[in-house]
């Protein structure tokens, strides 16, 4: 039973396009929603995060949109670049700063 559901599994986007990854959760006790980026052979690294009292957060080309009533959140990557090609994980944090991860999205940006 997956507490955080992520889609799509993989995504191919042209350079300069917008990449969109979606996540949904069930547990209303989650109170922090980070996105992690992982390159091959490396551990995940925090990309951007949001708390549920905010509907949108933007950092450079990366934006999180958060819909608390629908229990959904998404990552938008504007002007996608080949260097953005990686695996992206959404996550939710529960007590003890424990991360519950989505299954991941493999993003490929074609040049």
């Amino acid at each position: 039973q997956q507490q955080v559901k992520q889609s799509p599994q993989s995504l191919i986007v042209q350079k300069g396009g917008i990449s969109i990854i979606n996540c949904a959760y069930e547990n209303t006790a989650f109170d922090y929603f980070p996105w992690y980026q992982q390159f091959p052979g490396k551990g995940p690294a925090l990309l951007i995060a949001i708390r549920p009292d905010v509907s949108e957060k933007k950092e450079g080309r990366f934006t999180i949109s958060f819909n608390k009533s629908a229990k959904q959140f998404s990552l938008h990557i504007m002007d996608s670049q080949p260097g953005d090609s990686a695996t992206y994980f959404c996550a939710a944090v529960e007590y003890g700063n424990k991360l519950v991860f989505g299954a991941g999205t493999i993003l490929r940006v074609k040049s």
Binding site: D31, P34, G43, A45, V93, Y95, N97, L99, G104
Partner: protein, 115 residues
């Protein structure tokens, strides 16, 4: 700055063998975590620790043991290795927080195959 260091990077074990995956962090983080990553499954929490001498189970603890004798080190032990434990193992650390939401810093993983 080393961050989170995991050793070894790769290991092949035979069924029934045991081994310890090492994890060390130099950021003085109180919280440390062990995850396993299987293809298409994301990362799942095995064990975590909120400080030296304190450990607790995560989502998938069976077949593993941990200890935390110092702030810096958090080894993960596999007893009687089984093929189902073939995975990539990640250690992470973070500062503590009463409300959650501190970034976790990950090591580069240990790739373990059990044959």
């Amino acid at each position: 700055n080393a961050g989170v260091t995991q050793t070894p990077k790769f290991r092949i074990l035979k069924i029934g063998q045991s081994m310890t995956l090492q994890c060390a962090q130099d950021m003085n983080h109180n919280y440390m975590y062990w995850y396993r990553q299987d293809p298409g499954m994301g990362l799942k929490l095995i064990y975590y620790s909120v400080g030296a001498g304190i450990t607790d189970k995560g989502e998938v603890p069976n077949g593993y043991n941990v200890s935390r004798s110092t702030t810096e080190d958090f080894p993960l032990r596999l007893e009687l290795a089984a093929p189902s434990q073939t995975s990539v193992y990640f250690c992470a650390s973070s500062y503590d927080t009463p409300t959650g939401g501190m970034p976790q810093h990950f090591g580069d993983g240990t790739r373990l195959s059990i044959l």
